[in-house]
C-alpha cells in the first residue's frame, strides 16, 4: 500500500527511471522529458523565490523591530531591495525589459553590482596568500614536498623560471600533466562512482534523508 513516505519514494523511483530511459532514447516523448522537467523546475523555483524574499525581508524587518545589533545594516538592505525592485518594474514599463541597456536597473547592475562583485573577487588574492603561507610551512615531510612542488610550479609558470633554467617550465608541465592529472582523475573517478551511488540509493529509496 502507498502511504506516508511511500508516495514520494514511488514518485522518485518512477521519475528516476524515466529520466534514465530518456537519456538513451532521444525519440519523442522521452527526448523532451529532461527539458520539460527543467521547465517545471524553473516554474517551481520562480515560486520559491517568493519564499526566499519573504525569508530575507522577514529576517531584516525583525532585526529593525527588535533593534538587534547592527540593525542599521538591515535598513540599507531593505532600502536597496526596494530601490532595485522599483528600478526593475520601472525599466519593464519604460523599455519593455528591465535588462534594457538604457534602463536604470541595468545602470545599477553595471555600476553598483559589478564593482562590488569585483571587490569581493579581488579579496581572493589576499586569501590565497594567507592560505598558501599556512599550507606551505614545511612542518613535516608531506608539507615540505608540497612546498617544493609549489615553488617549482610557480617558478615554471613565470618568465623568470625560464631564465633560471630552461628545464623548469618543462618540469612544471610534466608535474601538471602527469602526477597532478593522475591524482585529479583518480578523484574524478571516485566522484563519478560516488554520484552514481547517491543516485542509485535515492532512486531505490535506500537513501531517504532528503525526505521530510
Amino acid at each position: 500500500m502507498l502511504k506516508g513516505k511511500n508516495i514520494p519514494l514511488a514518485i522518485t523511483f518512477i521519475v528516476g527511471i524515466i529520466m534514465i530511459v530518456s537519456f538513451f532514447i532521444p525519440h519523442r516523448p522521452f527526448g523532451d522529458i529532461e527539458q520539460i522537467s527543467l521547465r517545471w523546475y524553473s516554474i517551481i523555483a520562480g515560486f520559491t523565490m517568493v519564499l526566499g524574499v519573504d525569508s530575507l525581508l522577514g529576517l531584516h524587518f525583525r532585526k529593525i523591530k527588535r533593534k538587534e545589533e547592527n540593525w542599521i545594516h538591515s535598513i540599507f538592505l531593505i532600502a536597496g531591495f526596494v530601490m532595485v525592485f522599483i528600478a526593475g518594474v520601472w525599466g519593464t514599463i519604460q523599455y519593455g525589459s528591465a535588462f534594457d541597456e538604457r534602463s536604470f536597473f541595468t545602470y545599477i547592475y553595471n555600476y553598483f553590482i559589478v564593482p562590488l562583485q569585483a571587490t569581493m573577487f579581488s579579496l581572493l588574492a589576499f586569501f590565497v596568500a594567507s592560505a598558501s603561507y599556512r599550507a606551505f610551512r614545511a612542518r613535516n615531510r608531506d608539507a615540505a614536498l608540497l612546498l617544493i612542488t609549489a615553488v617549482i610550479v610557480m617558478l615554471g609558470r613565470v618568465p623568470i623560471g625560464e631564465v633560471i633554467s630552461p628545464y623548469l617550465p618543462k618540469f612544471t608541465d610534466w608535474i601538471m600533466e602527469v602526477p597532478q592529472m593522475a591524482a585529479k582523475r583518480g578523484i574524478g573517478l571516485g566522484i563519478a562512482l560516488g554520484s552514481l551511488g547517491v543516485a542509485i540509493r535515492i532512486i531505490l529509496g535506500i537513501e531517504r534523508s532528503y525526505l521530510s
Binding site: 537519456f23 538513451f24 532514447i25 532521444p26 525519440h27 519523442r28 527526448g31 523532451d32 523555483a45 520559491t48 517568493v50 519564499l51 526566499g52 524574499v53 525569508s55 530575507l56 529576517l59 547592527n70 542599521i72 545594516h73 540599507f76 541597456e101 545602470y107 545599477i108 553595471n110 555600476y111 553598483f112 553590482i113 564593482p115 562590488l116 562583485q117 569581493m120 579579496l123 581572493l124 586569501f127 590565497v128 594567507s130 592560505a131 599556512r134 599550507a135 578523484i187 574524478g188 571516485g190 566522484i191 562512482l193 560516488g194 554520484s195 552514481l196 551511488g197 547517491v198 543516485a199 542509485i200 540509493r201 531505490l204 535506500i206 537513501e207 534523508s209 532528503y210 525526505l211 521530510s212
Partner: protein, 433 residues
C-alpha cells in the same frame, strides 16, 4: 553604532561617486552608408544540409564552406517549405561555419520530421536590417538571384540547397558505452545490496572528517556558539548539493541532541526550503521539534560574491564555533574558508569540485575529498543496505583500476593494442550481451 553608521555612509558615498562618475554606454555607430560594397562574387551551392544525428527529431544541421576572406561577413539563413519561408539565423558571422535549425526557448523553428526543406544563405558585410529580413521571407520573392541590394549594402545570395528531411532516432548509439556500463554497474550494486540484505558484514574505512562532526558540534555547544552549515552555490538538482543536504540531516540531528543552534545561509530558495524541511525533520527525529527555528535557515542572495559577502559578514558577527562547507563551491570557496579560519571555527569542508579542493585542504581542519562526501551520509548512518552500495562502488573502482593497469602495461609494451584493444573487448561484450 555611530562608528558603523559613519562607515556605512562613507561606503555609500564612495559607491555613488563611482556609479555617477561613469558615462553611460555610448550609442553604437552605424556604418557609413556610402561604404556600399559592389562584390559580384558567385557563391554557388555553399550549404551542406543534414539531419542532426541521434536526436529526437525536428532538427536540421546546416554547415557552409566559404573562402576565409569572407569570414567577417554576416550570414543569414532562410528556410523554405513549399512557398513558406522562415529566417533560421541572422547576424551570424560566416566564420561560425555551422548553425542548427532546432527549437529553442527563444525561437520555435517548428521543423517537422519527414517534411522536405530547402535552405538559402545570404551574405552581407554589415548586419541585416529588419526590413531586408521581412523582404527575404516574403512569399513572392524569388531568391534564385545572385545579389540584391538596398541603399545601404549588397547582399550575396547562394544557390538553394536541399531537400533535407529531419527524423527522430529511437536509440542514441553514441551513448551505448554508457548504457552497457550502467547495466554492469547496476548489476554490481544490486548484487551487493542483496549481500547486505543477507547479513554479510561490510567494512567502511575510517573518515576523519566525519568522525570530527560530533567533536565540532560538541565544541560549539561548550563554547555557547552556533554552528554554521554552508551548502555552497549549487542548486537542488546538483548531486553535491543533494549530498550536502543528506549530511545536513545528520549534523542537524546532532545539533538538536546537543540543544544548540544551526545557521544555514542559502544561495537558492529551493535549497533553502529543502534545508528547512531537512533540519525540521532532524530536530523532530531527535525529539526536539520545540527548538527548531525556521528563521535560522535563511535566504541570502543568488549572486555568487554577494552570497560570499553575506555569509562572511554573518560569520564575523555570529562567530560560529563550527563551520561546515558541504556542497558545490567555486571561486568563493577560499573567501568563505579563510573567513571561517580567521574566527577560529573548526571547519569541515567537502566538495566535488577538484579545483576548489586544494583551497579547502589549505584553509579547513578536515576536508571530505569527492567520494568521501558522497559516502558521508552512509558513514554517519551506518545502515547495512547503504554500506552495500559503498562496497559496490569500491568493487567498481577495483575493476576500473585493473583495466587502467592492463592498458598501462600494454601501452608500455607497445603491443599496439591500446585503445583499439579495449574497443574490441567492449564490442565483444556488447555482442555477448
Amino acid at each position: 553604532m555611530k562608528k558603523n553608521l559613519v562607515l556605512l555612509l562613507i561606503s555609500l558615498l564612495f559607491i555613488m561617486l563611482n556609479a555617477f562618475g561613469q558615462d553611460r554606454a555610448a550609442e553604437p555607430m552605424l556604418p557609413d552608408s556610402n561604404a556600399i560594397t559592389s562584390e559580384t562574387v558567385y557563391l554557388g551551392n555553399i550549404l551542406i544540409l543534414s539531419d542532426i544525428p541521434n536526436d529526437g527529431g525536428g532538427g536540421i544541421e546546416i554547415d557552409w564552406e566559404l573562402n576565409d576572406s569572407l569570414n567577417n561577413y554576416y550570414i543569414t539563413i532562410v528556410r523554405r517549405e513549399g512557398r513558406t519561408k522562415k529566417i533560421v539565423a541572422s547576424d551570424l558571422l560566416a566564420s561560425s561555419k555551422q548553425v542548427r535549425d532546432v527549437n529553442s526557448d527563444e525561437d520555435m523553428s517548428n521543423v517537422k520530421d519527414g517534411t522536405e526543406y530547402f535552405y538559402t544563405a545570404i551574405l552581407s558585410k554589415y548586419a541585416v536590417s529588419q526590413q531586408i529580413l521581412d523582404y527575404l521571407v516574403c512569399d513572392s520573392i524569388d531568391l534564385n538571384t545572385r545579389t540584391i541590394a538596398d541603399g545601404y549594402q549588397v547582399y550575396l545570395i547562394s544557390d538553394e540547397s536541399g531537400p533535407v528531411k529531419a527524423k527522430a532516432s529511437w536509440f542514441n548509439p553514441e551513448r551505448l558505452t554508457v548504457f552497457v556500463s550502467a547495466i554492469i554497474i547496476s548489476f554490481i550494486f544490486l548484487l551487493y545490496l542483496q549481500f547486505a540484505r543477507n547479513g554479510k558484514k561490510l567494512y567502511i574505512r575510517k573518515i576523519n572528517g566525519l568522525d570530527a562532526v560530533e567533536e565540532a558540534v560538541g565544541r560549539s555547544t561548550e563554547m555557547g556558539k552556533p554552528i554554521m552549515y554552508i551548502l555552497g552555490i549549487g542548486y537542488v538538482t546538483d548531486i553535491p548539493t543533494i549530498a550536502g543536504l543528506t549530511i545536513l540531516g545528520r549534523v542537524a540531528k546532532k545539533v538538536a541532541e546537543y540543544k544548540t543552534k544551526i545557521l544555514v545561509p542559502s544561495y537558492d530558495p529551493v535549497v533553502m526550503t529543502t534545508a528547512q524541511e531537512v533540519v525540521k525533520e532532524a530536530f523532530t527525529e531527535a525529539g526536539r521539534p520545540d527548538i527548531y527555528n525556521k528563521n535560522d535557515i535563511m535566504y541570502i542572495t543568488q549572486d555568487q560574491f554577494g552570497y560570499a559577502a553575506g555569509v562572511d559578514g554573518m560569520m564575523i558577527r555570529e562567530k560560529p564555533g563550527a563551520v561546515f562547507l558541504q556542497g558545490l563551491f567555486f571561486a568563493e570557496s577560499l573567501i568563505l574558508a579563510e573567513t571561517g579560519h580567521s574566527i577560529g571555527a573548526i571547519q569541515i569542508a567537502g566538495t566535488t569540485e577538484t579545483a576548489q579542493l586544494p583551497f579547502f585542504v589549505a584553509a579547513c581542519d578536515y576536508t571530505l575529498i569527492g567520494e568521501e562526501m558522497m559516502a558521508a551520509s552512509v558513514y554517519l548512518q551506518k545502515d547495512p543496505l547503504m554500506l552495500g552500495s559503498i562496497a559496490a562502488e569500491d568493487i567498481m573502482k577495483v575493476i576500473i583500476i585493473i583495466i587502467i593497469i592492463i592498458g598501462f602495461i600494454l601501452g608500455i609494451l607497445g603491443i599496439g593494442l591500446h585503445i583499439e584493444f579495449f574497443n574490441k573487448i567492449f564490442n565483444l561484450l556488447i555482442e555477448i550481451l
